[in-house]
């Protein structure tokens, strides 16, 4: 808990410092002279820590490090739905615009549902995810005379911290690995970014409810993002992500969101979204998604 607060304090001071700085005339110039990729082209941190949209990994390598450079960023995301409060935070390193390593922690606060289930109000289920992503081919931004998207493959090693509970709910395991392939293309002249991701997963509710259930097989899921660039700093868009429906105790549905991502500069961005996460145990869950990302 203390860590979370100190992270938030760091993030808050980031915000304050940046806005103060933005007030001066040439703030943008100072910040823009950071190295690397163009603003927003590294995506933001998705809920499991990889660079992408809010829900979905993209084929881009996170951070502003371009070829020959290494960059890093950290994020803090909160989603408040009808019954739950989900927080996710973590960090990633982008190495030479080729390899991305990430870590994410998700805390799923069951609030009053926890009390109703006899777990105690505010019972929290947690998941750690270590991610690796490798760019295989293409350049989403620079190859504007080609239709070939940037393509990357990734793995997310997931570990649920409440194994006894999720197994009691019917999950087969408290550890599992997701594998995905993403294709991302920026249609710059049109100002549109497209992403498609295929994921093989055993995870129930991103892994919050463990892995495997009625069967212990990998399920192939589709994810997609579309974003429209309004200006250099601001993109709006929508995403979807299907999830397996493999846990006997409750139905699981797909997730969608609409988002606006604002990059103040290369060191700070804010993403606001309205996310519908589908049915999670009790009923359909939707709410405001707020994510702050800082990096260098």
């Amino acid at each position: 808990m203390k860590t979370v607060f100190s992270r938030m304090a760091i993030a808050a001071s980031f915000v304050c410092a940046s806005f103060v700085y933005a007030g001066s005339t040439h703030a943008e110039d100072f910040f823009t002279y950071a190295s690397g990729k163009l603003l927003l082209t590294g995506g933001v941190s998705q809920v499991e820590g990889a660079a992408g949209g809010g829900l979905t990994p993209w084929a881009v390598i996170g951070s502003y490090g371009s070829r020959g450079q290494t960059g890093a960023n950290a994020y803090y995301t909160t989603i408040g739905t009808q019954d739950y409060k989900i927080t996710s935070y973590g960090a990633l390193i982008g190495i030479h615009d080729r390899v991305e390593l990430s870590y994410a922690r998700q805390d799923f606060d069951t609030q009053q549902v926890g009390a109703a289930l006899g777990l105690g109000a505010g019972y929290t289920i947690s998941q750690d995810t270590i991610g690796v992503k490798v760019k295989l081919i293409g350049d989403a931004v620079l190859e504007q005379d080609s239709w070939l998207p940037q393509i990357a493959v990734g793995a997310q090693f997931k570990s649920n911290k409440n194994g006894d509970l999720v197994k009691a709910l019917g999950a087969r395991d408290d550890q599992s690995t997701d594998y995905y392939i993403s294709a991302t293309k920026l249609l710059l002249a049109q100002g549109i970014l497209l992403n498609g991701t295929l994921r093989a997963t055993k995870a129930n509710q991103f892994g919050i409810l463990g892995y495997g259930g009625q069967d212990n097989a990998y399920h192939l899921q589709a994810e997609g993002s579309v974003a429209y660039l309004l200006n250099r700093h601001l993109a709006v868009g929508a995403e979807f992500r299907t999830k397996p429906d493999n846990l006997g105790v409750a139905k699981e549905g797909g997730a969608v969101d609409i988002f606006a991502a604002y990059a103040l500069n290369k060191h700070l961005s804010l993403t606001l979204a309205y996310a519908d996460l589908g049915n999670i145990v009790t009923r359909r869950q939707s709410g405001l998604y707020v994510s702050l990302q800082g990096g260098f």
Partner: protein, 159 residues
Amino acid sequence: MKSVSLGVMAGMLLFCSVPAFAQTYPASAPSAATAPVISSDGKLYGDFGGHDGLVALMDDFMVILLADPRTKDFFVAVDQTRVKWELVSQFCQILGGGCTYTGKDMKTVHAKLGVHQADFLALVEDLQIAMDRKHIPFRAQNQLLAALAPQHRDVVTEP
């Protein structure tokens, strides 16, 4: 030291390519990859303010490039007037302004400059800042950048 020699080299290459010296040093044929024409109705060219707009844009652009620690070494020692002139000519052709870019192709010009991908992206960023300051519509900016982006294959020579 490196930056000075790069600048001198750039200056020499551009020196050879300006029309005033074209009789002495015939310019190579402009390649389609260097300056593809992406608009023909004059509207996009108009979004940039036509010839005068491009000249003013390049004046600002050069100031920004020289102030940017990431890019200034490439431009500080070159004939900046000539570089701006070449860029006006190239952008004018791309935007459908009816110009013909007669300068050397991008690969030849940048062959020995040692440009990294980060340098290329820094220049793109500075161009975006310059275009923003001239209030060129975002969509028009991106159409130009989309036409210029593939030049990275000729300009970026370092891994």
